[in-house]
């Protein structure tokens, strides 16, 4: 019964009138492997401005499709990766970069972990030094319980 219902639904399904125009839905064509590799790498570092946390490479949104096309065009115009990114940032803001720029407002982000590691390393060194000495058991026992 349900299968017939679905078949009916299929027959009556409205055409995609609610869909945005797709300028050219065909997949992008690349001139060579190097261009394709560069494109994929670049587009994975950019964020889809519309979606819930997807990269420009992964997203199916219409705007993502348009932006991918734009990125390829910019690449072919001879723009470097940095210039392509700057083009998008100028229009959509830094939100579009998955790799945040290193600027004063992201110093904590980029250098925080290194700082933490440094401080932690210092603490560990202090602890190790503090525990050196001949308190406790006999040294390096081969019969050690594992």
């Amino acid at each position: 019964m349900t299968r017939w219902l679905l078949a009916l639904l299929l027959a009556l399904a409205p055409p995609a009138a609610m869909a945005q125009v797709v300028a050219d839905p065909a997949p992008l064509q690349f001139q060579d492997r190097a261009e394709e590799t560069r494109f994929h790498a670049l587009v994975s570092e950019l964020r889809c401005v519309m979606c819930q946390n997807q990269s420009l490479a992964d997203s199916n949104a219409q705007i993502a499709h348009d932006l991918r096309r734009e990125v390829l065009q910019l690449m072919r115009q001879g723009k470097s990766d940095a210039e392509v990114k700057q083009f998008l940032v100028a229009r959509y803001g830094e939100f579009v970069l998955y790799k945040p720029r290193v600027e004063s407002k992201t110093w904590l982000l980029w250098f925080g972990p290194a700082l933490l590691l440094l401080v932690g390393g210092f603490v560990v060194a202090r602890v190790v030094r503090g525990h050196a000495g001949s308190r406790g058991d006999a040294p390096g026992n081969d019969e050690q319980e594992w």
Partner: protein, 184 residues
């Protein structure tokens, strides 16, 4: 490992700072339009374009033709459900004749757009058509509806992402418009 005074209370201090941040997060997430991207074009000249007019297919309009007085640019499409929701609000605002409301028909079939306007009414002073979305990228458009306020000199003064309502028009658009007209 020796837990000195600092070492003992440090974890709590770190957590307290974290809790404050998370509290701020909860506070911020109460705003309805939290996901909207702020536009980097505020205060910058609007991008140049040359687009056909919906009701006069042969005619092309550029940004320069629209300069001289402020105007509101509303991005919409017949495929956009939220545009239908904001339509009455937009119509009322346009009918107040406070400022020109220019429509930006984005990624839409001409026939569908005309039918939509026939069905719901046309609030726009003029409707520009961007079928492929080429100039939309320059404007930083990523969805519909979106609304811009451009001043007489062609500088973008304000942008809103999402449907308009009376409160937004009253509390944000009109004051921005007043500031733009006063030359501030």
């Amino acid at each position: 490992m020796s837990a000195s005074k600092l070492g003992r209370w440090l974890p709590l201090a770190v957590f307290a700072a974290l809790a404050v941040l998370l509290g701020a997060g909860v506070w911020l997430s109460r705003q309805p339009n939290r996901e909207a991207l702020p536009s980097p074009l505020i205060g910058k000249p609007a991008p140049q374009f040359s687009l056909p007019v919906l009701h006069e297919p042969g005619r092309l309009v550029t940004l320069d033709e629209l300069k001289g007085a402020p105007f509101v640019l509303n991005v919409w499409g017949s495929w956009c459900a939220s545009c239908r929701i904001e339509h009455p609000v937009l119509t009322r605002f346009a009918e107040s004749k406070r400022v020109r409301v220019v429509g930006y028909n984005w990624k839409d079939e001409r026939a569908d757009a005309l039918r939509w306007l026939d069905q719901f009414g046309n609030p726009f002073w003029m409707v520009l058509v961007d079928y492929e979305g080429r100039y939309a990228i320059d404007w930083g458009i990523y969805g519909a509806p979106e609304t811009y306020l451009v001043d007489a000199g062609g500088v973008i003064r304000w942008k809103h992402v999402g449907p308009l309502d009376e409160a937004i028009i009253r509390e944000q658009l009109l004051p921005a418009l007043a500031r733009a007209e006063a030359g501030r």
